[in-house]
Symmetry: C3
Subunit: 114 residues, 3 copies
């Protein structure tokens, strides 16, 4: 049983649920002129929304892969992460510097349990 | 129960199936002198083959991570994606600019249900 | 049922187990002045430790995503991989050139069965 939740763009889903696993991805929805800290906080808020759509929440996140456009700003991403994460239930996490389509400077892919 | 499907290179598999999940990766098999559009279309055809080996198909893809060597060519990758994807069953997808081993300019990692 | 194994850094886990899946990430624990070959071998040894914590081992790895800071050193990463991998049970693998936080030059994300 696969349940798909449409995003803003055709031909991809913002979240997909299958059995007891949930897969979701987010960027900041209005990224222009916002900092790494702000974009990360907004992307994490989108992750919260998508998890809720799927009947999950951040306490059940298994893995998070955080892609940033400038690895030197990892500290600012971490600041938003540390404010947001469920510290009693932290996911496995990797943070990687990649090229993203401007104006996005952070994109987050999450796997969670339901 | 884990089933592994060998690729061209020793010490890694082109696809691995476990319970009702399938994991597969593809590049274009003959990438020399081919464009982002062509390499993407060929890599997606390999994904189709691997999913078939595992008893799955593109309507059951949960997630796709598309790695491109030049994020400015994301539009050309998208053109191949949009022609190929099952629009009624779109996966969660992320597209990231990374360094790939030449002559590869696109590599795609997929998780699917069986 | 989610089991989390703490790493050195707060707010993330070195490994997370859920049902019959295990997710883990590793870098070399003492990366200063060590080569791609050495950092890869040390990161893979950490993966072994994390899998053991979760009741799994390298014969049950489903996927490995290897992030390297210099794709031109993929050969040196491969040398450590080929010495380490269970050749009878090779995972699906992708190797991608990304920016990592120095002094790390390789980071490995693994999904395994229990």
């Amino acid at each position: 049983m696969i349940t798909r939740f449409a995003g803003l763009t055709p031909n991809r889903s913002r979240a997909v649920a299958h059995d007891d696993l949930v897969f979701t991805v987010a960027v900041a929805p209005d990224p222009v002129s916002s900092s790494m800290y702000e974009q990360t906080a907004k992307a994490l808020a989108c992750i919260d929304e998508s998890l809720a759509l799927c009947g999950s929440d951040k306490s059940k996140i298994l893995t998070a892969i955080v892609y940033v456009a400038d690895i030197k700003q990892k500290g600012e991403m971490n600041r938003a992460w540390d404010e947001w994460v469920d510290s009693k239930n932290p996911p496995m996490r990797a943070c990687l510097g990649v090229d993203l389509e401007p104006p996005h400077i952070v994109e987050i892919v999450v796997t969670a349990a339901k």
